[in-house]
């Protein structure tokens, strides 16, 4: 099969590394070759962060290119739009509706583009927007936003629900498994 790409983006500190760890585990369990490219260092300090996941029979580059991503998983509204060019035709954006103002907006140098997701929808992009923060809090922790979004990804993805649940058990610390599985279920069933 041709190599496929998934993008996970958000604001530094939101927990994108755990999301890619879970996705990586699911894909490895399925027997795919996989590469995951992460961002460490300076951009973790509240900057825009992006993680690339590529999987297939044989993966060379760890970087997802323009027009290649099947999915963009975004932890913050405008971060989805920032990386929209990576989405392939027919790809899906799954995004948290949370708004986090970047510093240029805080200082008044720029305005927050409230309606940017509608703009993408109008251009034919499938956008699944959800209040993942509220669902994460319902599951027991605001930190589970990442797992809620992965639940919604699983709904659109070709790997069975049970395999994700199993992978959560392999990925997070034992004391957090139940909470994260609940968060995953809430994300999966959102919109039903």
């Amino acid at each position: 099969m041709e190599t496929r790409g998934i993008v996970i983006c958000g604001v530094g500190g939101q927990g994108s590394l755990l999301a890619s760890k879970l996705l990586g585990r699911v894909l490895v369990n399925e027997g795919y070759d996989i590469k995951v490219s992460e961002v460490h260092g300076m951009s973790q300090r509240g900057g825009s962060v992006i993680t690339y996941v590529r999987y297939g029979d044989k993966v060379y580059s760890p970087v997802v290119q323009s027009g290649e991503a099947e999915f963009i998983i975004s932890f913050e509204r405008i971060e989805a739009a920032r990386y929209a060019h990576l989405l392939k035709k027919g790809g899906v954006i799954i995004t948290n509706t949370q708004r986090i103002d970047p510093m240029p907006v805080i200082t008044g140098a720029a305005t927050y583009p409230e309606d940017i997701l509608d703009e993408l929808t109008a251009k034919g992009v499938q956008v699944e927007a959800m209040d993942a923060l509220a669902l994460a809090e319902e599951a027991g922790s605001a930190k589970a936003v990442n797992i809620v979004l992965m639940g919604q990804l699983a709904k659109h993805f070709h790997i069975d629900y049970e395999k994700w649940i199993e992978a959560i058990g392999q990925t997070v610390k034992p004391q957090f498994v139940e909470m994260n599985q609940k968060a995953f279920a809430l994300g999966y069933h959102f919109g039903e």
Partner: protein
């Protein structure tokens, strides 16, 4: 079957060091190299430490090698500048136990102050350098580097780059094998590099390079992947992956795993086989120059930029291949640069410096973010430690006329790294400089590593804690005082008094990093909307928790605010109220 794991390149290097039987690792943290030593420290069988700087780290590794065990150190590209002194002469002494120096370049400057290409060091110091292209190779090459180090009696460099260091791919785990420890034998001709001995070692170095070049012709580290002969490509590391992504098996690729010294015959043979030969290498045209030196015609930097990171997209574009269709929004998405965290202790200090319109020489660390709007509190950032020495020179240039309106800022870890010597110079050569040490009790930007001032070692065990106040006194500074940067009034008083003093002084701005686990956040502050008059004074802090609400009044992001209370002190109308 051996266990397979998904690992970032740095973790795979650590695994390789473990399997190679390394017994001592000494490093200084620096993105993108830090995780090599952090992961290595998770193996109880390896002695690991954070050294105060890269030079100390490399010399420690040298000592362990001298004693007969395998040793390593890891650093970022600019760290190798600091450790260049031991490296160049280690090339002459060679090793007893294998010695591997891991160095991580940062094309694209994700987290660095320059984009230097560390391959130049391998050439200049006349030592071998390997460069892996994925995590499996990171592990394998770390082990191969020790074989080369011991066989050729040389330190061996292992070159990483951000995209390999921080990308996960599958690694097959093997067992740790510890080579027999070599007995220590005194050997002054080899290890005392006084002129008489060094003169005899230099020919050895030159002969070694010839032997290593012969190795480059035959080693499986350099692999020819035959495909179409219309296009031939020489590539290393991440560039190899991008080329494979673009061309698959349709071109012939010479994949170089050993990037110094470079093969000669292998390249000539390839050139004879293909119609056009390209060199795809990030940063400088090192391989390209080599090809041209040996009379092989190649296309390199005239087609591929020396700037930043490559990708399959940039390579496809350079070859004029079509791009994939994309969709973008027409509205611009505002930039989201990194910022100092909510509750960052540096913020209060920088606010005071900006308010007093001081000239501020900066250093390397999280506090470089103080240069961003709205604080714009920095005037320079050069390299580790340069703030103090730079301030001294700045003040000397103006006969100390500037000393009452100029300060420098340097973190606790950076001060231990290379600020101490600058402070000794301030005292010894007598400038009236005011030095501010931002002591947040951790090495922050690289992700919380311990250092000699924190009282803990790399394993988190208690360690000797160096007392900054005593140290500054010992370095000849009489005026040393401590302030809490959350207290704006006290901080401003301290800064004004020390600037006015007729001698050099040190202000230690002390408050632990808000991200440290033991720092418990307070309840978020709240805005009393009746009292807020929209003056925006609080916005001058550049705190990510504070914004202007749609009603025109200040608002607080409760998910981010840690209740540090600095904004409360700023509000002239007492509209910001403590959450406690």
């Amino acid at each position: 079957m051996n266990k397979k794991e998904l690992m970032i390149g740095n973790a795979a290097v650590a695994r390789g060091l473990y399997e190679a039987g390394v017994e001592v690792i000494s490093s200084y943290p620096g993105t993108p190299s830090t995780e090599i030593t952090e992961f290595a420290a998770t193996y109880d069988d390896i002695y690991c430490e954070w050294a105060p700087n890269e030079k100390v780290a490399m010399e420690t590794a040298f000592g362990a090698s001298l004693r007969g065990v395998r040793a390593a150190c890891a650093m970022k590209h600019v760290g190798l500048n600091v450790a260049a002194d031991p490296l160049f002469t280690l090339s002459y002494t060679g090793v007893t136990g294998g010695l591997v120096v891991c160095v991580a370049d940062d094309p694209g400057m994700h987290s660095s102050q320059n984009e230097q290409d560390s391959r130049h060091y391998a050439i200049a110091a006349k030592v071998p350098m390997l460069e892996p292209a994925d995590s499996a190779e990171c592990k394998a090459f770390a082990k191969a580097a020790f074989e080369i180090s011991e066989q050729f009696d040389t330190p061996c460099l292992l070159r990483m780059c951000t995209r390999i260091a921080h990308a996960q791919s599958v690694v097959e785990l093997e067992d740790r094998v510890i080579p027999e420890k070599k007995p220590y034998e005194k050997n002054p001709q080899k290890f005392i590099m006084a002129p008489a001995n060094a003169i005899r070692r230099h020919p050895f170095v030159e002969e070694r390079m010839q032997k290593l070049t012969a190795l480059a012709e035959t080693t499986p580290l350099n692999r020819l992947e035959e495909g179409g002969t219309e296009i031939g490509i020489i590539a290393t590391g991440s560039c190899y992956q991008y080329c494979k992504e673009v061309f698959g098996d349709s071109v012939t690729i010479l994949k170089l795993g050993m990037v110094n010294p470079l093969p000669v015959q292998k390249i000539r043979d390839l050139a004879a086989k293909v119609q056009k030969l390209y060199v795809v290498e990030e940063l400088d045209g090192v391989i390209e120059s080599h090809c041209k030196n040996i009379g092989v015609e190649v296309i390199g930097k005239e087609m591929f930029t020396p700037l930043g990171e490559y990708s399959q997209k940039s390579i496809a574009a350079a070859f004029g291949l079509p791009e994939k269709e994309t969709v973008t929004a027409d509205t611009a998405v505002p930039m989201r640069p990194p910022v100092m965290c909510s509750g960052c202790p540096h913020r209060g200090l920088f606010y005071v410096l900006a308010k007093n319109k001081l000239t501020v020489l900066g250093d390397i660390g999280c506090y470089t973010l103080g240069s961003a709007a709205p604080l714009c509190a920095l005037d320079s950032t050069l390299c580790m430690g340069a703030s103090i020495s730079g301030l001294h020179g700045y003040n000397k240039a103006a006969g100390d006329e500037t000393a009452d309106k100029t300060v420098c800022v340097i973190g606790d870890s950076t001060f231990m790294h290379s600020g101490m010597t600058g402070l000794a110079n301030v005292a010894y050569n007598g400038s009236k400089s005011t030095v501010i040490i931002l002591d947040n009790s951790i090495t922050g930007m690289t992700g919380h590593q311990q250092n000699p001032t924190t009282g803990y070692n790399i394993k988190g065990d208690p360690a000797t804690k160096i007392d900054l106040e005593s140290l500054c006194h010992a370095l000849g500074i009489n005026r040393v005082r401590v302030v809490d940067p959350y207290d704006l009034e006290a901080t401003e008083k301290a800064v004004k008094e020390e600037l006015a003093a007729d001698e050099a002084s040190v202000i230690i701005s002390r408050r632990p990093c808000v991200l440290l686990k033991y720092v418990k956040p307070k309840k978020p502050v709240t805005v009393n909307k009746d009292k807020c008059r929209s003056c925006k004074r609080c916005m001058k802090l550049g705190c990510p928790s504070i914004h202007m609400d749609t009603d025109g009044k200040a608002g607080i992001d409760k998910t981010l605010c840690v209740g540090c209370g600095v904004c409360e002190q700023l509000c002239p109308f007492d509209a910001i109220e403590s959450g406690e």
